[in-house]
Amino acid sequence: MEKRSLAQLLLSLSLLLALVLSLFGAFAQSAAAAQPEKKPILIGHLHPLTGPFAMFGTACSVGIDVAIDEINRQGGVLGRPFKVINRDDRNKPEVGLREAKDLVLNKKVDFLMGNISSTVALAISSFAKDAKVIYVVTGARSNQITEEKGHRYVFRIGANTFSRVSTVAQLAARKWGDKAKKVVMINPDYEYGRACGDYFMEEYGKLVPGIKLISADWPKLGTPDFTPYISKLMASDAEILFHSFYGGDYLTFVKQAVPAGVYKKFLVVGASCGGTETVCEMKKDDPIPLGEILSDEFPYWEIPNPKAKEVAGRFMDKAGTTYASYESVLGYTTVYALRDAIKAVKAVDTEKIITYLEGREIDSPIGKVKIQDFDHQALWPPYAGTMAFTADYPWPHIVDIWYPKPLEKVYRSREHVMKVRK
């Protein structure tokens, strides 16, 4: 075996080299073919496209595609069309990082955007900083992305964990504060769940004196059976239940908790989850969490600005669904923000675009949204409301939407961000 190994190695290496060079050649050729003046402005979009969060990736793509179609039909920007390259980050930071590197170094994208997992977003953000490429986070919520680990090249268009939890906590305190002091919570066991738990205790505790935490559960993400957690909850004497389930976990929990009487026994507050891509699966005769306080970033049925509903309609047409997801509007807004920035500075110049966007009020289907200059966090209203069934939609959704004004109050201040960045 050993005598052959040199020959083997040589052969394998030459196969390898042949493979690599042919690929290289293929890429070089296609790049050469696309040479005409209308070189597209490339956006690299990273999101899970497989696995349990594929939903969010597809929804964001829908928003991006609708925006790009509209912009390109009007001639693009600076005479150049937009083009998006979608990559699956498989919700893993190493893969996300690898794809981001490929997009920036190989495909030479001008911008990066996307991601629902904060861990992946943090990894890509770190790379974007070194590579000096603008990275706009849409779905990932961790405050660390714009606070501790924030930097010049990362932006977030969308709410963050603290703003959403604070909002629902405030709403809960206003509605129920006088009678709900004993808290139980159940959060999926990972950074987002833990952060939500912390923030809720902090914020609700500030508004409602004398709260007490009776029990805290940390089920694994993707738990199929919540029955033991539910029976444990029912055995306690708490008054208010807080959770941070979203997506599939939320649907599972609701299906199991409503019949068990959880929603009759407790007042329930959820950190997120009003998202239509999730609630659309609840039908009229299913167990429905009426009266639950939830948060969603795109409750287009109640947003006063008529553009919201109209753009939602375009998303629904494009995706062929009966609902429009918040990820779509975030993707849409991001593309338009980039377009407006490029148009204003008259070049695809990263540094100038960053300076333009800082402190800018960008246009979005929900109205004007300001991007803070010190942390590049958009002051996206983290709408909160209570779940109800209305006649015009086949699925339940939040109503009586509200968010605290001014928005700066639920987003961290300059002093706070500067302090944590030390």
């Binding site: 497989t50 594929a54 923030y199 009776i214 059976d225 029955t227 997506g247 068990a260 699966e281």
Partner: protein, 324 residues
């Protein structure tokens, strides 16, 4: 003020992430007998759900000696088929029950195809090749599911007449979960009956002990292998279909479930169906009572048990090759 402790103040630590002292002790000490009973019931029904998913894996490993990594994907396939059949043929009353019959049958057919075309070639090879082959199957099945049904969440709820709850031990317990327990127990006894009282069962047990002798005795061993694999897939698909009213059907449910199946099979003893039954119950009860005592460690329970069993008693609770 709620009890809290700050993590050590350190550059790498983040200001939030306070650990609370939640008052589980109070719940435990105040827990009445009936509440404990409810927790017990939850644990049992949870365990039964796991059993219904894992029993197929156990059967396939016991007879075919194949560690079918794709079993989770089979479960997912069964779940998606059930949801699709139920919701696309809505007008017919009791559609769920029809889907419950039809879905797993289709999965079994698929399993038969996989076995004859792919698996059959590699039985004699080292088990690591099965590992890779079944992993490749996971990749193929999950993308096929995505192609067919998209990446969104699907959900159906408890089918009539099991959509209520019953009053038991002073609390309410969902009827469907009780139904699952009944089904689990039936499957257990049904499999035992199959293996001990039918000719096929005896052949299967014979093959488990010694494939060559059975072949020499004129049994069509390859056909039996196919049948066992199909049965295992049927069980996996059936578990998936049964789980649909309880869980959310989405891509990724295969990965979520496969490790739990492995844990069950290890605890019970590779190849022992009774072991799988007991192992599932143990895991279910561990989860149900573990969260009362140590909620912070919820995600670790299964692995700790798995490691302990493998270290202390690797053949699991019921030994290596028992088919009682």
């Amino acid at each position: 003020m709620f009890g809290a402790q700050q993590w050590a103040n350190n550059k790498a630590a983040v200001p939030h992430h306070i650990v609370y002292k939640s008052d589980e002790g109070a719940i435990l000490s105040n827990m009445s007998l009936q509440a404990l009973l409810m927790q017990l019931l939850s644990g049992l029904s949870g365990g039964m759900l796991i059993y219904l998913i894992a029993v197929g894996l156990s059967l396939i490993f016991g007879t075919l000696r194949v560690l079918n990594l794709a079993h989770g994907a089979i479960y997912m396939l069964g779940a998606y088929l059930c949801v699709w059949l139920t919701s696309s043929l809505k007008p017919i009353p009791g559609m769920f029950w029809w889907a419950l019959v039809l879905g797993p049958f289709l999965v079994a057919l698929f399993g038969g195809l996989v076995e004859t075309v792919l698996l059959r070639r590699i039985y004699r090879w080292h088990f690591m090749y099965q590992f890779i082959l079944t992993f490749a199957l996971i990749l193929i099945i999950s993308d096929s599911v995505k192609l067919l049904w998209g990446g969104g969440f699907r959900s159906i709820t408890y089918p009539w007449p099991l959509d209520g709850s019953i009053k038991v031990a002073g609390g309410t317990f969902p009827l469907y979960n009780i139904f699952l327990v009944a089904v689990g127990v039936s499957i257990f006894f049904g499999l035992r009956a199959l293996l001990h009282f039918t000719r096929l069962g005896k052949v299967i047990r014979g093959i488990t002990y010694n494939r060559e002798i059975m072949s020499a005795l004129g049994e069509n061993v390859p056909a039996v292998y196919t049948e066992v694999f199909m049965l295992g897939c049927w069980l996996g698909g059936f578990g998936g279909a049964l789980a649909t009213p309880l869980v959310t059907v989405s891509l990724g449910m295969d990965m979520a479930v496969i490790i739990q199946c492995f844990i069950v099979v290890v605890i019970g003893g590779l190849g022992s169906l009774t072991g799988a039954f007991i192992g599932s119950l143990i895991l279910g009860l561990l989860d149900a009572f573990g969260i009362m005592v140590l909620p912070q460690l919820t995600i670790a329970f299964g692995f700790i048990l798995m490691a302990v069993i493998l270290i202390v008693r690797p053949y699991g609770l019921l030994g290596k090759r028992e088919y009682e």
